[in-house]
């Protein structure tokens, strides 16, 4: 009898909770959309996990979206993004796929909790472009990387980009240690991962790092600003009865940085722990 009671309670609890969780994110498209070759969302390898499958999905997307000839972007020294991507289809490509990273997605607008960040490198290993791919393997966005280009020569040397566009975990750890004034070791860190918000501080193409410590603290590192943050406040960000959210900037104190986390209906108000590099958004 007890077992039946427990079972009933469990069913009720799951029944109440699951729809609430499901509503958090946009509903994923049915698998058929990705496997049917006549569908606009077809990909050769739905939900790719292996590097080779991710690359094949990327090449398929380039063929579909951009394969109608290269372009020369007149006055720019940065290659046209389309040109870079099309080179990946060559037999002996000038550019090649470099590192591929999983980025956690903190926006309910995407159906899945991660995207792929694919780097494209030149023959010297310099990152020349980045591509964001959704979890099912669909092309999302891409951008040529301007660092190292002549345009930065007029800028203060401290603001120029180094060759390591996407910093390593150790780089981030060093920044965290410098900002806190104490040495932070790997043993103190529970989890480190790249996260994308709908924010200039950490986007799909240039994600932030989220560093969860064993002591319960969470820190964020914005590669763009070379800034380490701690969470000063979490503001509830509910929708009103019409499904509209309040403009988040009207909720956050001036001169604070912030990122929206629509999965948890929160705005994270971030306190700067170092001086960073304010000249770059």
């Amino acid at each position: 009898m007890k077992i039946v009671k427990y079972f009933t309670v469990l069913i009720l609890v799951f029944g109440l909770c699951l729809p609430a969780v499901a509503e958090k994110r946009v509903k994923p498209m049915p698998m058929k959309e990705f496997t049917d070759p006549s569908s606009p969302s077809y990909v050769p390898h739905p939900y790719p996990k292996k590097r080779v499958d991710i690359i094949e999905d990327l090449k398929y997307a380039i063929n579909i979206l951009f394969a109608d000839g290269e372009e020369n972007n007149g006055e720019s020294k940065t290659p046209e993004i389309k040109t870079i991507l099309l080179h990946l289809l060559d037999e002996n490509p000038v550019y090649k796929v470099g590192e591929i990273h999983k980025v956690k997605n903190r926006s309910h607008r995407l159906a899945h909790d991660y995207t792929w960040l694919i780097t494209i490198e030149d023959e010297n290993g310099q990152i020349v472009a980045r591509v964001a791919m959704t979890a099912p393997g669909l092309f999302a966005s891409a951008g040529a990387t301007t660092h190292g280009a002549d345009l930065f020569k007029s800028v203060d040397p401290s603001l120029r980009r180094g060759p390591h566009f996407l910093k390593t975990g150790q780089d981030v750890l060093n920044s965290l240690s410098n900002s806190m004034g104490i040495s932070v070791s790997k043993n103190e860190i529970k989890q480190m991962e790249r996260v994308a918000f709908q924010s200039t501080l950490g986007s799909l193409l240039t994600p932030m790092w989220e560093i969860k410590m064993f002591d319960g603290n969470t820190y964020y590192y914005s590669v763009k600003r070379d800034m380490v943050y701690e969470v000063a406040e979490k503001i509830r960000w509910k929708k009103d009865k019409d499904g509209r959210r309040t403009d988040m900037r009207s909720l956050v104190p001036r001169n604070y940085d912030f990122v929206p986390d629509t999965i948890n209906d929160e705005i994270l108000v971030l306190k700067k722990l170092n001086n960073g590099n304010q000249s770059n958004n």
Binding site: S76, I81, A140, A144, T146, R244, R249, S279
Partner: protein, 231 residues
């Protein structure tokens, strides 16, 4: 002889007319815009104005533009960006706005931006709940079979944020569902000419007449009395 000449002329005209905008769907067109990254973290709108101005043949310093239009610590208000475009470029700019819950709100605005590209004019599109702005330099699109309205497929743009950089490409669905989405406010784009959104204005009015809720534009919706700037 005359027939041959006529045929050659027809072929030539067809070739020329098909050069830029494409004569087969998806249509595509890109315009050249010199790239400048933003010199301050709150200068994204300012850098967009600078790029647009240089496309129109004039070079203006970002700090001068910022001083002229007024930029707060958080960035330039959309109306300031419009003022800057009117002052420093050949645009007669308009802030085209749609309610967040209007049917195809984003599509209406992007259609205006595509029409702008067709007359060689950029637009400025906000990202990330109006906290950032980029300058649009091209599209791939198709036309709605019933309405003829251009429907964006890929958007090409320069992002003044140097970490994102120039020559960006974004699939339209991602633009609509992720980058563009103001979670709380309205959708808007700064277009080079008011006439580009005529069709959109009609649908906006129909939406309101049909009982749609009008919350007001970005300068009106301001629950704490703080105008929402963008950077």
């Amino acid at each position: 002889m005359k027939t041959k000449l006529f045929t050659v002329l027809v072929v030539l005209i067809l070739c020329i007319s098909g050069c830029d905008s494409g004569d087969d769907p998806p249509f595509k067109k890109k315009i050249s815009i010199p790239y400048h990254f933003q010199l301050e973290y709150n200068f994204c709108g300012v850098a967009c104005i600078q790029m647009w101005a240089e496309r129109d043949g004039q070079y203006w310093d970002q700090y001068y533009i910022a001083g002229t239009i007024g930029v707060s610590g958080d960035g330039a208000h959309p109306t300031a960006i419009k003022t800057g475009l009117d002052a420093f470029t050949s645009a007669y700019a308009i802030i085209a706005m749609r309610e967040w819950c209007e049917p195809d709100a984003q599509g209406d605005l992007l259609a205006g931006a595509i029409r702008g590209i067709l007359i060689d004019k950029p637009s400025i599109v906000p990202f990330y709940d109006l906290t950032h702005a980029v300058i649009v330099r091209g599209f791939e699109w198709h036309e709605n079979a019933d309405t003829g309205k251009p429907v964006a497929e890929v958007m090409f743009y320069h992002d003044p944020d140097p970490w994102e950089g120039e020559n960006q490409a974004l699939v339209a669905n991602m633009l609509k569902d992720y980058y563009f989405t103001p979670s709380g406010g309205d959708y808007w784009i700064i277009l080079p000419l008011p006439t580009l959104v005529d069709a959109g204005v009609d649908s906006h009015i129909q939406f309101i007449l049909g009982g749609g809720t009008y919350y007001g534009g970005p300068s009106v919706y301001d629950p704490k009395g703080i105008l929402p700037p963008i950077n």
